[in-house]
Amino acid sequence: MSAQFLSVRNLNAFYGQTQVLFGLDFDMAEGGITTLLGANGAGKTSTLRALSRMLHTVGDIRFEGEEISRKATEDVARLGIAHVPEGRGTFVRLTVEENLQLGAISRPDKRAIANDVDRIFNYFPKLRERYYQQAGTLSGGEQQMLAIGRALMLRPKLMLLDEPSFGLAPLIVQELFGILRTLNRQEKVSMFLVEQNASLALDLADHAYLLETGRVVMSGPAKDIREDEGIRRSYLGY
């Protein structure tokens, strides 16, 4: 376990004058899946936005030992951190092909990019059928798969996933989380997962943090938190 993979110390974030994150500390091991749980407005999305430098913050964020809290969003992406944002961030007027190509826009290795498109088709066969279609015409589930496919095109070391289950039918969600598990194992992509659906996230993740009004109130192995009835009742509501 290399604790140096992602390490956040005393992270505070602000929207204008309003503080939304208060001194967060968390670590993530390479190859793992860490989930950040919490209610609406707890600061989950803000944490992801802070990691990919779309939010003004004070505090340390180290990725593979490198301080990234002063970098621009596009440079963080180029370090291998792929953020699948809330609402999926699809380029709706571009085709599926162009969306996937954009995922690899910072990579110079053109031949490998073509192979990666094929690899992504193996995980998401629907995208092959829709390849030349405008991305805005895809269903919600397909767009989520496209967003994850786009992120994979970066060949990321770390994926930041913002509520991938949001607005999707339960069956689709099951399929999607199955694929995420496979991706984590086969592609060795570490994942930092933000979810409202706690039971789903705790099944997938190996480690969990619980966020309440911008503060970490609990953390531990996902298995322990899942089995702790007290935490489940008071924080996770299921």
Binding site: S52, A77, A82, H83, L102, S106, R150
Partner: protein, 292 residues
């Protein structure tokens, strides 16, 4: 019938001028989402640079391409130096700066080169190609140049990675940053390209209207009109819009009695208003629809 064809051809010739300008307008609109009021003055200034180079002994095509290069660099520089710092400012701040640029560039050109009109050469000559007084070689050449620029733009945006990155940066800057597109530089590149296209437009227009600091005033208005009619999101639409404005203006001047030629500009603009009332996003424009 002859008169009609004659007027359509003459309209197309004027329309080519508007089409050039409309294309430059749409380019910058795509990149920054605003009308650049100073676009015409930038094009005029570029044309003066070309004129100056020729005065210094550059052959036409050398001056042509050097001017395009200088204009591109100047466009990038204007974005980096002036518009990048105010990127998040409200739209009115942008408008004020556009107007300031307009006046500054205009008077600067007058200061350096004076307000007397100058002849600007055409690389295509001025002989008629379709009978006397119909379509001159320069008109035909100008249309060909507009077509070539359009094809190059299409190829660039459709088939190159940097073109794709530019489209992504314009459509969804946040998502573009998340995949690693350097959005700020894409904007600067958009400005550079718009300035370069403006330079081409200016050098094509100058042989027709003569070169002087105010040469672009009315042309910019019609270029805008053409761009709006065609739809601000479509380069092809902008070019077709430019041509239609020219044709309508000419036909209205000829065939509508009483008003005669004095009112033909008003008629063209009235038609534009009518088109926009029916199709607010222009004939070829895309309505932005989002799926929730």
């Amino acid at each position: 019938m002859d008169l009609f064809i004659h007027q359509v051809l003459a309209g197309l010739a004027t329309g080519a001028i508007y089409a050039c300008m409309a294309l430059a307008v749409v380019m910058i609109y795509q990149a920054i989402d605003h009308f650049n009021f100073a676009q015409g003055e930038m094009a005029m200034f570029s044309t003066f640079i070309a004129w100056q180079l020729m005065q210094w002994g550059f052959p036409y095509w050398a001056a042509f391409f050097v001017t395009i290069g200088i204009s591109f660099a100047a466009g990038v520089l204007i974005e980096r130096a002036i518009f990048r710092p105010i990127h998040d400012a409200p739209i009115l701040s942008h408008v004020v700066i556009f107007i300031a640029l307009f006046v500054i560039i205009n008077s600067f050109a007058g200061f350096i080169w004076e307000f007397t009109i100058k002849a600007f050469p055409s690389p295509f000559g001025t002989k008629p190609v379709l009978g006397e007084g119909l379509l001159s070689a320069h008109d035909a050449g100008m249309m060909a140049v507009v077509g070539i620029v359009l094809l190059l733009l299409y190829g660039f945006f459709r088939y190159t990675r940097i073109g794709l990155a530019m489209r992504a940066a314009a459509a969804n800057p946040d998502s573009a940053k998340l995949v690693g597109v350097r959005v700020g530089w894409m904007l600067a590149l958009g400005w550079g390209m718009a300035a370069a296209i403006g330079a081409v437009a200016g050098m094509m227009i100058a042989p027709v209207v003569f070169l002087e600091p105010n040469m672009m005033l009315s042309i910019l208005l019609y270029g805008f009109a053409g761009a709006v009619v065609g739809g601000l999101t479509s380069p092809v639409g902008a070019v077709l819009g430019g041509f239609s404005v020219g044709v309508v203006e000419n036909l209205a001047g000829t065939f509508i009695p009483y008003f005669g030629s004095e009112m033909k500009l008003s008629i063209a603009l009235a038609l534009i208003v009518a088109v926009l009332m029916v199709r607010p996003s222009g004939i070829f424009g895309r309505k932005v629809v989002t799926r929730v």
